[in-house]
Amino acid sequence: MNISIPEINFSIIAPELILSAFGLVILLLGAFFSEKRGNDHLGYISLLGIVVAFFFTVPLMETSQHAFNNMIAADGFGVFFKVTFLIIASLTVLISIGYVQRADIASGEYYALIMFATVGMMLMAAATSLLTLFLGLETMSISIYVLAGIMRGDKKSIESAMKYFILGAFATGFLLYGMAMVYGSTGSIILEEIAAYIKSKPELLRSPMIIIGIALLTIGFGFKVAMVPFHMWTPDVYEGAPTSITAFMATGVKAAGFAGFVRVFFSALGPFQPDWIAIMWVLAVATMTVGNVVAIVQTNIKRMLAYSSIAHAGYILVAFVAGNDLGTASILFYLLVYAFMNIGAFTIVILLGKKGEENVLISDYAGIGFRYPLLGVSMTIFMLSMAGIPPLGGFMGKFYVFSAAVKAKYYWLAIIGVLNSAVSVYYYLRVTVLMYFREPEREITGLTPFSLASRIAVIIAIGGVLYMGIFPANVLALAKRSIMGLM
């Protein structure tokens, strides 16, 4: 029998390969070095890996090529997300250095798993077949399950891991079923072929199987992006997981989820847009509203940020509903800027904690604005950016998202969205209120001196937020070019 090897193009998966390789190396090194003295160098090694991967990613930007029997592609969409993931990963590593030994975490495995999770995300973004998408998602999820529970002996950490695991697996079941039904009603797992087949057979638009399949896929992806009503894991898991991992989840997992979501729904199931618009409209509104409204009454800043991340998912869903090219581009833009501001905020949360007391209650922030001025200013910037105050990135993100909705004439959606962001101002401001307007009831002292890495992380985050707020043109243009191949 003849064996025809399909074209193998390593340059396309070079970033993934590099990251995995570095993951292995870190694993080995981690095994050899004892964890007595903090293994910062492991962190720096993984940074190095990310940087290398970055240099292999950028060249792919202009190309639009498929390989491995159309299982994976290197198109602008995927590459933009890959860059986003690399930024997220690098920031996460930066803020983990120092935090790792404070939280008594096995650093070798920690960094390695971050690498693997990033690989999974990148695969999700680049996947052009249901199978690779599924595997990428699982690679990411499994690593994250572990990372969430990696703080040994910490009740909350392991509990969050358990919750995330059970619900994640549960959601995976639905996702898988959905994929199966799509496969069953189209006979292929390659997105392009699916799209072609749907176009060729219009009566398929009425076939119950594929429609239910879409419903099930919505559940699966909705879980990953923390869409109401599949959001309930978010606050608990974010609260329990190590803060650095929370940041990683809130940005990376969400972004990856949206990458898969958009990729499947727009490039494969595009013709079904009329079917999902209405339901997604409702879900978007619910997501925004629930996220914001519940965030208002939170007392723990990690939970508060968790709910706010739900709300941000809602804003992105607005663009998803809009469905035009502008909307898709704005999703990319928003996710990137959200990565900057959210990780930035979590960095501050980390910096304010110390071994034994993590100071994650919002009331702990009373009066730090003037005791740690730079810290306070940074936190303020991130909060205001999330609230969508110009000239910060968050504003531009919202601006593009809502303009997409307006362009698609979803005026009410846009109005609900902006009103929501007005509501959100309340709890973002509360942080600044405490930092600047209140005198602390107890002094926060003996903070571990802020490590260089975390300083760099904050600076990068602020830089990103400001750059994307004041000169958003380039990034948006990039995003617009990235989605050319998709639509």
């Binding site: 919750k163 559940i219 599949f230 519940v294």
Partner: protein, 664 residues
């Protein structure tokens, strides 16, 4: 030289600024000097202007100077500009002249008061504003003076601001005046919207093109302003309280000059009013009503200054009666004479207070005749003048008005009758004042008695001058029944306000008036068959007799049988209480306007603003938070409930798709 007329108001302005900026640093004499000399200069200058004006033929006794554009917006343009004509120069002379004497008087009167510099600053400012009012060549600048004098009266009434009564009175004066100004402002608006200009000359030229009803409205609105400024019904209430101010102020502002601004304004707008007979009638009616009303209150007051205040109100009523029957020059004439004798009366009262160490209650006076003779002997002619005794200035002007009220086409016997009765009252209460103050036994407490002394020269000299004026001041307007008449002032003002004849001819068209006129021509009784001249003489006689009767009653009551008033008060208790309490008007106003507005304000603030509006705002916030507090309860923390939630969501989505798939 007419081009430099702006110097007239300039001098007081300079005085105001210098005293205002460094009044407290320079010695007091200098302050007084600056104050007086500023006014004196403008007085002299206006005299010069007068002569130059008289030099001109009557027809072109009119000159305007525009200094600079003031408010210019689109079609709207007003300038800071002055105009000089007989009317304004007359006012300018009265104002600067009387105020000059009062300034001098004040040097003595205010001597020793800590606020001395402030006082002169305010006084100069007042003169400046008043001159603006009378010299303005457009309504807006006139309004500036109009409100400016109001401000000064506010400042001067409340001069002794530690006294709550004083500051209250000041505030009351300002606010009540504002009510009038509200009408004045609307009048200005209407003039501009209908004529597109506020310049006097243009307005009066184009006015005939307007239809009568519009002019009537304008005139009435302007008159509302006048009722405020000149203390006519129903806005007179501030003037009696204004007596809280220093007495020279009462004399200058609240007797001689400011309060007459309304009269001047109507005379100035005579063109408009002559076009609007209804408005004229209203003016006349209000005037005469005020005259008798205030006089009736004056009968029973015991505060010397308040008596004078009410007499001022009623005299102003006369002036309005005069202008209201179209006899503008008579109104102005009475304005002038009144300025003399009423100013004098107040200064005299001030001198009395000075002697009685600040006592105001006439019941604690008496017998001052020989203790302060100068004051007394200057006081008498003024009293005679206001009582309308022939030979004194008041007689000429008042009887001119009464005659016009009777004879003018806008007049009516009724107006005349009421006016005459009011005159009787006037003579009664004025002599009551005279008797209670200067005659009989002194009722003052001993230690006051000891200190009674005549005022210094600087005070008595102005008294003398003014008394002379209040005697001879009337001879510029002798009615033509005597020696063919010598009505200089009428002639002088004629180019502006027109002589009465023209008025009659020009505006006899108003039917009702004409009817009255005709009726009065053929009317039976005394008037029948007599010619106008003898008619005038008869009326004059009647009024003089009534005036004398008033004096006689006063004599009986307060010299011969001092117990009578008490008995009468008992007999006519109700009438007496009503009069003593000034018809309870202050109470009524206080209840119906002040309290109700305050109540409304409180209600709106506490009730509406805090509860409704703010309540809504905070309510929304609280609602959202409560909503969140409920929603967070769904986060039980149990993984299975989360899974359950996912199932529900999934079911909903699937259900939506199933239904959609089935029905579409």
């Amino acid at each position: 030289m007419l081009d430099y007329m702006w110097l007239v108001p300039l001098f007081p302005a300079v005085g105001f600024i210098t005293n205002g900026l460094m009044g407290r640093k320079i010695p007091r004499r200098l302050v007084g000097l600056i104050g007086c000399s500023a006014i004196g200069l403008s007085f002299l200058f206006s005299l010069l202007l007068l002569f130059e004006l008289i030099g001109l033929p009557p027809a072109n006794r009119h000159h305007e100077v525009e200094i600079f554009d003031w408010v210019v917006s689109g079609s709207f343009r007003t300038v800071i500009g002055y105009q000089l004509d007989p009317l304004s120069i007359l006012m300018a002379l009265v104002v600067s002249g009387v105020s000059f004497f009062i300034h001098i008087y004040s040097i003595g009167y205010m001597h020793g008061d800590p606020g001395y510099p402030r006082y002169f600053t305010y006084l100069n400012l007042f003169v400046f504003m008043m001159l603006n009012l009378v010299l303005a060549n457009n309504f807006l600048l006139m309004f500036v003076g109009w409100e400016g004098v109001g401000l000064c009266s506010y400042l001067l009434i409340g001069f002794w601001f530690e006294k709550d009564s004083a500051s209250n009175a000041g505030k009351k004066a300002f606010v009540v005046n504002r009510v009038g100004d509200f009408g004045f402002l609307l009048g200005i608006f209407l003039i501009f919207t209908s004529l597109g200009t506020l310049d006097f000359t243009e307005v009066f030229q184009n006015a005939p093109s307007l239809d009568a009803s519009l002019v009537t409205i304008i005139s009435i609105l302007l008159f509302i302003g006048a009722t405020g400024k000149s203390a006519q019904l129903p806005l007179y209430v501030w003037l009696p309280d204004a007596m809280e101010g220093p007495t020279p102020v009462s004399s200058l502002i609240h007797a001689a000059t400011m309060v007459t601004a309304g009269v001047y304004m109507i005379a100035r707008c005579n063109v408009l009013y002559s076009m609007a007979p209804i408005a004229l009638t209203i003016v006349a009616a209000i005037g005469v009503a005020t005259a008798i009303y205030a006089a009736s209150i004056g009968l029973t007051q015991n505060d010397i200054k308040r008596v004078l205040a009410y007499s001022t109100i009623s005299q102003l009523g006369y002036m309005f009666l005069g202008v209201g029957v179209g006899a503008y020059s008579s109104g102005m004439f009475h304005l002038m004479t009144h300025a003399f004798f009423k100013g004098l009366l107040f200064l005299g009262a001030g001198s009395v207070m000075h002697a009685m160490s600040g006592e105001l209650d006439m019941r604690k006076m008496g017998g001052l005749r020989n203790r302060i003779p100068v004051t007394f002997w200057t006081f008498v002619p003024a009293t005679l003048a206001i009582a309308g005794i022939p030979g004194f200035s008041g007689f000429f002007s008042k009887d001119e008005i009464l005659w016009q009220a009777y004879s003018s086409p806008h007049g009516h016997p009724l107006l005349w009758a009421v006016g005459v009765i009011a005159a009787g009252m006037t003579s009664f209460y004025m002599f009551r004042l005279l008797f209670m103050t200067f005659f009989g036994e002194s009722r003052a407490p001993e230690e006051v008695k000891k200190h009674i002394h005549e005022s210094p020269r600087v005070m008595t000299i102005p008294l003398g001058i003014l008394s002379v004026l209040s005697i001879i001041g009337g001879y510029v307007g002798i009615p033509h029944v005597f020696w063919g008449g010598f009505n200089k002032i009428g002639e002088f003002l004629a180019p502006v306000v027109g002589s009465h004849g023209e008025v009659a001819a020009g505006h006899a068209q108003f039917s009702l008036q004409k009817l009255a006129y005709a009726a009065e021509q053929v009317g039976a009784g005394a008037g029948h068959g007599l010619n106008a001249a003898s008619m005038e003489l008869i009326l004059m006689a009647i009024s003089v007799i009534i005036a004398l009767t008033g004096i006689f009653i006063a004599y009986v009551f307060y010299i011969k049988r001092p117990e009578l008033p008490a008995l009468l008060a008992k007999k006519r208790k109700i009438v007496y209480t009503v009069l003593v309490n000034k018809y309870f008007v202050d109470e009524i106003y206080g209840f119906s306007f002040v309290d109700s507005l305050k109540g409304l304000g409180t209600g709106l603030w506490r009730g509406f603003d805090d509860q409704v509006l703010d309540g809504t705002v905070n309510g929304v916030a609280r609602m959202i938070i409560g909503f969140g507090a409920i929603l967070r309860r769904t986060q039980t923390g149990f993984v299975q409930s989360y899974a359950f939630g996912m199932m529900i969501g999934g079911l909903i989505i699937m259900g939506y798709y199933v239904i959609r798939a089935i029905f579409y």
